[in-house]
């Protein structure tokens, strides 16, 4: 379907302040196409803040640049973002089909349900294994089901950059494995850069290609095995 993506993300000297406190200081790293770059660090290290900076949701100094497959700077790239499902407002009356249609169609879902948009939504859900969820209200989904829907939402239109913020919190073991299988297949099929925030070092070892250890600034970054076997990781996470 889509062409192979060779996009990349370049972050330089990123600093974020909130209420006179420096949350991120002079963060610089790059994430390339076909890489799953894991952002790891203790609680409060600034991982989610970094993702929200990339999304343009908070003010920052420094530069966040995105380049397309031709190496041309893109001002506003298409970003697929999968948040922690625990921070999503699930009390709103909306079905999975309506939610996905909102992202891909301009036909107002409060008034009409275009057959074309619903068919399209069903096709995207197929990619994440959630095609049976189309008519279900968001409020009735389990953690694993919601994660499939959120990933489907992030994938349409096909993003140039995928951000996953602890995407498998509140998901059972089987759901976690199937979620990462989908993410890995996306990486292989579409080759977009993927940034993954995770607290689970086992998942990081298994699925990430690169790792950035964050503690307000970049402590260490490099290939997964190099970083994960470093003394800095042992020290940060109290590993013997």
């Amino acid at each position: 379907m889509e062409h192979e993506c060779k996009c990349s993300l370049k972050i330089e000297h990123l600093t974020v302040w909130r209420d006179k406190t420096e949350i991120l200081h002079d963060v610089s790293f790059e994430a390339h196409h076909a890489e799953i770059t894991a952002l790891i660090g203790r609680n409060g290290a600034g991982k989610t803040t970094l993702l929200r900076s990339i999304l343009g949701r908070i003010p920052y100094s420094g530069t966040i640049e995105f380049f397309d497959s031709e190496g041309v700077l893109v001002e506003r790239p298409r970003i697929g973002y999968v948040p922690q499902n625990t921070i999503l407002d699930r009390t709103i009356p909306v079905t999975v089909g309506e939610f996905l249609s909102c992202g891909c169609s301009s036909a107002p879902v409060w008034l009409v349900h275009r057959k074309k948009a619903i068919t399209h939504a069903r096709e995207i859900l197929k990619k994440t294994g959630g095609e049976k969820l189309i008519d279900r209200p968001l409020s009735s989904l389990s953690g694993g089901e919601l994660q499939r829907v959120l990933l489907a939402f992030a994938l349409d239109p096909m993003p140039q950059l995928l951000l996953l913020d602890e995407p498998v919190s509140a998901v059972d073991r089987r759901g976690i494995e199937s979620f990462y299988e989908v993410v890995t297949s996306l990486r292989e099929e579409y080759h977009m850069p993927i940034l993954l925030v995770s607290h689970d070092l086992g998942h990081v070892r298994r699925y990430a290609t690169d790792v950035v250890l964050l503690d307000q600034t970049v402590v260490l970054c490099g290939k997964c095995e190099e970083v994960m076997d470093s003394p800095e990781i042992a020290e940060t996470f109290g590993l013997s």
Binding site: R76, T95, P159
Partner: protein, 281 residues
């Protein structure tokens, strides 16, 4: 407008429909209630019912400013002040450390108290007390036209922007990834709520306008689990409460807005009980 009035007179063989003020009030209800159902759904989804209540309270200060400036049409000063008020609340919420309910509560109190003080200082508060409970029976034909224009404008905005509104409501960060301008959408929504509250407050009343925004939408949530269903029910319940409340108030000799709100409240509790029974099954 006269043409519409003659149609209503011809098709409604009821005693109350013999009076022009009742026919005008019915027309206003037919326009205002679907509008409230439509906007109320998003107010409830965005957990902004306290915000719209504060906007209603600010109307009194808007009137007071109009009186001080010698403006004949208070609507202008009310709308102007409500927009300023909405921006001030947003500004303090974004830059302060207090929680949303505290900030809105503070502004709500100021909006009400400042209006009461300025109007009473000029010795004529009683003249404006009708704004507190509203009187839909005084609605004029040009005001009905204004409501019609507002309803059309809101429907067009909802057709163009509702999907983006909903995404921002569900998760602003996800919406931002889709290049939705989150702050712009939020400001647009605040402006629409402010305009709707101010334009209709004269007939609905400062004290109960928020109930009419929130109750039909809250009742709809008990019945529907989809966006389309919740809008359909909210607009339907709002319309039904409006028409039946207006007619009932004629026979009971009560204030129309209060009667409408009580019917909407009764529907809310019925739907609440229904949803509890359904969940228990």
């Amino acid at each position: 407008m006269e043409f519409l009035d003659s149609i209503l007179r011809a098709i409604l063989p009821f005693e109350w429909a013999n009076y022009e003020f009742m026919r005008s009030a019915l027309l206003a209800v037919l326009l205002v209630t679907p509008l409230f159902g439509l906007i109320g759904t998003s107010v409830v989804n965005n957990k902004m019912s306290f915000f719209s209540d504060a906007l209603g309270h600010s109307a009194l200060t808007g009137i007071a400013i109009g009186v001080l400036l010698g403006i004949d049409h208070y609507m202008i000063s009310m709308i102007g002040f409500a927009l300023l008020f909405a921006l001030l609340i947003s500004g303090v919420l974004q830059h302060g450390n207090s929680s949303a309910d505290t900030v809105i509560g503070v502004f709500s109190s100021i909006g009400l108290a400042l209006g009461i003080v300025i109007l009473s200082a000029r010795g004529g508060f009683a003249k404006y007390s009708s704004y507190l409970i509203g009187d839909i029976l005084t609605v004029q034909s040009e005001e009905i036209l204004m409501l019609f224009v507002l309803l059309c404008a809101v429907v067009i905005l909802w057709i163009l922007f509702y999907n983006k509104f909903l995404l921002v409501t569900i998760n602003p960060d996800m919406a931002s990834g889709k290049n939705v301008r989150v702050n712009l959408i939020r400001h647009l929504f605040s402006i629409v709520v402010a305009l709707t509250v101010m334009v209709s407050i004269k007939w609905v009343g400062i004290l109960i306008i928020n109930s009419l925004l929130v109750l039909p939408a809250a009742a709809a949530r008990n019945l529907a689990k989809s966006a389309r269903g919740s809008h359909f029910w909210a607009m339907g319940i709002s319309l039904f409460s409006g028409i039946s409340g207006l007619i009932l108030s004629y026979y009971l000799g009560t204030v129309a807005s209060g009667t409408i709100v009580l019917i909407a409240a009764a529907i809310f509790f019925l739907t609440f009980i229904w949803s509890l029974r359904k969940a228990g099954r």
